[in-house]
């Protein structure tokens, strides 16, 4: 019973969003987006050499804090996931686990050429090439490595995307992960094997956010159901 009621409620709220007629409501939405773009917490996952450009960007030389962006220690409280540098297949697993732990709305920035195309590791068997095959990426900052000015430029662009999200629909790449989960999961399974499974139930989250689409389900999510086993707490042993 509870579940059914919840479903009806969420449907109602979706309809309400579409049928808003109060002119002040739009103003309020813009205000929310404005506030959101002014307060971002960043989790920098320093996979490669691009991380060396972050200390000057964060500290007093270029000072990221004047843009309202601060480093954050846990993925659960972070808004931005900054992937700096090449992502090896082994690291990619951890990046995906980190990304799925973050709470929506969440944004991904890929720094350096390696996240675009593998960069100088294009011929390496151990490096994943395109980051946006495995998770939706908002902004790429190309360069080997990009200067702190370029990093700040990319962050500014992300801020503008978030601010103008309702007009241009650019700052909501994270919704794509729920809408096209089957595509992303398929690419992940190609690398990690068919038994790949994360602790986060993405499909349930998609239902919660009301972001289910045709791409959420597919052949790859069927495989997921085959191998999925309930996650139990680990035994404590001394």
């Amino acid at each position: 019973m509870m579940k059914k009621e919840l479903k009806i409620k969420s449907n109602k709220t979706n309809q309400q969003k579409q049928k808003r007629t109060n002119p002040l409501a739009n103003v309020f939405d813009d205000f929310i987006d404005f506030c959101q773009s002014k307060s971002l917490f960043m989790l920098h996952y320093c996979t490669g050499c691009g991380a060396i450009e972050l200390p000057p960007a964060m500290t007093s030389r270029f000072d990221m804090e004047r843009l309202g962006i601060q480093p954050m220690v846990t993925p659960r409280q972070a808004d931005i996931l900054l992937v700096t540098g090449y992502v090896s297949v082994k690291t990619l697993k951890r990046v995906i686990l980190t990304y799925e732990q973050m709470q929506a709305p969440k944004y991904v920035i890929g720094i350096c050429s390696c996240t675009v195309n593998g960069g100088m590791y294009w011929q390496s068997y151990a490096t994943a090439k395109k980051l946006n095959e495995y998770m939706p990426v908002d902004v790429y900052i190309a360069g080997c490595m990009p200067r702190p000015e370029a990093v700040l430029e990319g962050l500014n662009r992300l801020k503008n995307n978030i601010k103008n999200d309702r007009k241009e629909q650019k700052g909501s790449a994270w919704k794509d992960y729920y809408k096209n989960y089957d595509y992303y999961l398929g690419n992940q399974q190609n690398l990690f094997g068919k038994e790949w499974q994360t602790p986060v139930d993405v499909i349930a989250e998609a239902k919660l956010y009301g972001l289910e689409g045709e791409g959420t389900y597919g052949e790859n999510t069927k495989k997921l159901k085959m191998v999925q086993h309930p996650l139990l707490p680990q035994e404590m042993k001394l």
Binding site: V89, K90, K93, V116, N117, G118, W122, Q123, S124, Y125, A126, A128, K129, K130, E133, N190, L191, F192, G193
Partner: protein, 209 residues
């Protein structure tokens, strides 16, 4: 210990070939069956207590793997590199774990990267490449580029501003698309030929140890 007495110890093995590269650096070539005897000798009688590394070289033309054991003595300040060769098709060798404990990691690494099985080594399992299911990637017959072509996609990026720049005579001299495949820059292979070459590559998938 003088150099002569060290030579005396080394010469106890019949098939040995000693090369003095430097007074602190000795290269030793032995047959595979007498390598453990040599290590035991220099550890027990000549204070070579530290196994720095085990290296593997793939000599695909000779159909052989070369194993190099680097052993260091803190008393002599001298490094002995013991070279030995084993058959490539039947890549097995005996472990030296009972002599040198760090050999565990080196042997695991070589097993993963070259597929040389060390008999008696305590943990012959995956070490670093836990997400890898293909053939050992450091072997010379593994074509990394062909594997990448088959597994991953390439991002095309041709923005307008770059086109404008190159129209004015600037831009990038060598496009990344042209040097993506090794040798294409010099051969100037056309796209069709590249596609053909892609199909003909044999990637070592489904390799079994």
């Amino acid at each position: 210990m003088s150099l002569e007495s060290l030579n005396e110890i080394l010469n106890k093995i019949n098939t040995i070939k000693i090369t003095h590269k430097h007074k602190r650096r000795i290269r030793v070539d032995v047959k595979a069956d007498s390598l453990t005897t040599l290590l035991e000798l220099i550890k027990g009688q000549a204070s070579f207590l530290h196994l720095s590394a085990i290296t593997c070289v793939d000599w695909i033309e000779d159909n052989q793997f070369e194993l190099v054991y680097h052993v260091w003595s803190y008393e002599e300040n001298c490094l002995i590199s013991a070279h030995t060769r084993i058959d490539r098709d039947d890549a097995k060798f005996v472990t030296v774990y009972d002599l040198y404990k760090p050999a565990d990691f080196f042997e695991r690494d070589i097993y993963e990267m070259y597929g040389v099985f060390f008999i008696g080594s305590p943990r012959m399992e995956k070490f670093i490449l836990t997400e890898w299911f293909g053939m050992p990637p450091m072997r010379k017959d593994f074509d990394s580029e062909a594997y990448v072509q088959e597994t991953f996609n390439w991002t095309e990026y041709n923005p307008d501003w770059l086109q404008e720049l190159s129209d004015q005579g600037g831009g990038i001299a060598i496009k990344p698309e042209d040097i993506r495949l090794s040798g294409t820059l010099h051969n100037k292979a056309t796209h069709r030929e590249r596609e053909k070459a892609k199909k003909e590559h044999v990637v070592g998938k489904g390799w079994k140890s």
